[in-house]
């Protein structure tokens, strides 16, 4: 008796599956026609704002660059919407960071690259310029944009690829690249000068998670993250104790919160320091995994770095 009813489910299931596959074959032909009609401007999709900004600068106006991750989004926990799927399908080129910054999405990009133009901006970086975080092959710090010289190399790499993809605009892309490389090198010297006004022993940057290691390496700052490289690992009690000891020992005046990470752990550190009689303030908000709102000063790569450096210098000097 029971078996008979079971067969019934199976029958309905099979029927349902067949009707679904019929639906597929009916709709699939109409979809392809639709996408061919519109072909200008050429659509480029990027994951983070930093990459979006770079492509906006390099490419002439015949291209439209769309950023999937808006301001304040943690790339790790980015949740795609229905519209994002369509954007990626219609994009002529998809550009992402790589080094597992985009988490599980990375795997999708790698698979897509067999059928579509997909570019990882960190893909061509030589291994010796990347920062290893553990003995694992995959343990590489993805926050490459905080070293302006490294970002400059990325700019060159990306421009090289763009010229291959879009040879018709090669001259324009080269021009834009050269101008931007100059701007970046000016920015680099500006940062070095600004940070040198902080006394050497007070150059300690303590933030919620470990996004600023490249920044520290490039500009000789002792960077400490409470949380480790991923925003998902939890901070331990000992992490907070260690941070408090370090702050008191080095007489640090400020710690910093990040735009895309919860400030809770840092507030704990501040409270603990203040209760031990050491004056510590939250020195301001730094942009780490995402930039400011689009069309504001902090919504560009250069503006974002300037904001970070100003905040750090004002608070630590």
């Amino acid at each position: 008796m029971f078996v008979g009813k079971g067969k019934n489910i199976m029958k309905k299931l099979v029927g349902f599956l067949i009707s679904c596959s019929l639906l597929v074959s009916c709709t699939s032909s109409s979809v392809e026609v639709k996408s061919e009609v519109e072909n200008s401007p050429i659509s480029i999709v990027t994951t983070t704002g930093m990459i979006g900004d770079l492509l906006d600068i390099l490419l002439p106006e015949e291209f439209k660059v769309t950023r999937l991750m808006k301001a304040g989004v943690d790339p790790h926990y980015y949740k795609a919407t229905q519209g994002d799927l369509v954007l990626m399908q219609k994009a002529d080129l998809i550009v992402y960071n790589g080094l597992h910054l985009e988490g599980k999405m990375t795997e999708i990009f790698e698979k897509l690259s067999r059928r579509k133009k997909v570019l990882a901006v960190t893909g061509a970086l030589p291994e010796n310029r990347l920062r290893k975080t553990s003995e694992f092959a995959t343990g590489i710090d993805p926050h490459v944009w905080f070293d302006v010289a490294l970002w400059s190399t990325i700019c060159e790499d990306v421009a090289k690829e763009l010229v291959v993809y879009y040879p018709n605009w090669a001259v324009k892309i080269e021009e834009n690249k050269n101008r931007y490389i100059d701007e970046l090198s000016a920015l680099n010297s500006e940062i070095i000068v600004a940070l040198s006004s902080i006394p050497q022993e007070r150059r300690v940057l303590l933030t919620a998670h470990d996004a600023f290691a490249y920044f520290g390496r490039a500009y000789d700052i002792d960077v400490r993250g409470l949380q480790g490289i991923s925003t998902s690992t939890e901070y331990g009690i000992k992490d907070i104790e260690d941070a408090v000891d370090l702050i008191i020992e080095k007489e640090i005046k400020a710690v910093f919160v990040e735009s895309s990470v919860s400030p809770k752990a840092l507030q704990a550190v501040v409270e603990k320091c203040n209760s031990k009689g050491h004056d510590l303030v939250i020195g301001g908000e730094l942009f780490s995994d995402s930039m400011g709102e689009e069309n504001t000063k902090e919504g560009t790569y250069i503006g974002m770095l300037r904001h970070n450096v100003e905040t750090i210098v004002t608070a630590l000097k």
Partner: protein, 295 residues
């Protein structure tokens, strides 16, 4: 009807091919008061992922799935053992097991000097929006991997359920009688747990955690409110899933939101509508009987 394209077909099909096996096992979980098992497994797999990462040194799906599946099975085994041998209540043994396993995973990550980027979200949980992007070529046709996996999963679970329907039914409703006529409660219990573990972990990888957990519990719960017959409960549960998949996709399309979020929200809405509707129906019927009494 402008939402009707290939994306709609693939995404709703993959969602449905996961909703069906979820309903099939979810009905029994709800009836056995073990609805939180799926949630427990979603947390408990963490140490499996850490071990898989340690040995494979990559973020690839296959080792992650293997690691997650073995710990998922271990988790269900431990829950059963605590329950049967230790005589701990079912909910308490679920609570003990998964918190402990999750904590173990967190400690293991700390041991790997805090600098690896590892959790379920970034290495295991898929995203339903990417289903049409991740395809396999089968006889020249590009079919999303999630649809292939889902078909396999649906067939497997449906077959197991058809073959073992009597066992599942008897051990769920009348374990005493089942034991009396020589049906092993333990066997059917472990089989069901193994099925839940397989369904949830494979589905997490295809379409993400929240949606799977919603499919596992909400449609069977709605059906439970409406019927007290097992077969109708299974059918109703599938129908509610189907409606939620389609309405959810349209909602996500209209307001450009996360698809899994929209489908899960529609499921919750269905539950609320049924729940409130039933209460209103009860009040009306009570009034009607009062009226007929007074007449």
């Amino acid at each position: 009807m402008d939402f009707l394209d290939l994306n709609f077909v693939w995404i709703s099909l993959s969602a449905l091919l996961i909703a069906i096996p979820c309903s099939l096992v979810g009905v029994f979980l709800v009836l056995r008061k073990m609805a939180m098992l799926g949630d427990a497994i979603s947390h408990a797999v963490l140490p499996g992922i850490v071990i898989a990462y340690y040995f494979s040194d990559s973020y690839q799906s296959i080792p992650m799935l293997l690691g997650a599946a073995s710990v998922g099975l271990l988790c269900t085994y431990l829950i059963e053992t605590f329950n049967k041998v230790g005589r701990l209540q079912e909910d308490a043994s679920i609570g003990v097991t998964y918190t402990w396993l999750f904590a173990l995973g967190v400690v293991m990550i700390s041991f790997m000097n805090d600098n690896v980027d590892l959790d379920q979200d970034c290495v295991l949980y898929g995203e339903i929006a990417y289903v049409p992007l991740d395809t396999l070529s089968i006889f020249g046709a590009l079919i999303p991997r999630a649809v292939v996996n889902g078909s396999f999963l649906t067939t497997l679970i449906a077959l197991l359920l058809i073959v073992g329907f009597k066992g599942f039914k008897l051990t769920t409703f009348d374990p005493v009688y089942a034991t009396a006529i020589g049906i092993s409660i333990t066997f059917w219990h472990y089989l069901l747990m193994g099925m839940v573990s397989t369904v949830t972990i494979l589905s997490f990888e295809s379409i993400g955690a929240i949606l799977v957990l919603a499919f596992l519990v909400i449609p069977p719960a709605i059906a439970y409110l409406l019927t007290n017959r097992l077969m109708s409960m299974i059918y109703l549960s599938m129908v509610f899933s189907l409606v939620a998949v389609i309405l959810g996709y349209i909602l996500a399309y209209k307001i450009n939101s996360s698809i899994s979020g929209a489908i899960a929200s529609i499921l919750a809405l269905e539950f609320l509508v049924v729940f409130i509707g039933l209460q209103i129906f009860k009040i009306l019927r009570r009034r009607a009987t009062k009226v007929s009494y007074s007449n």
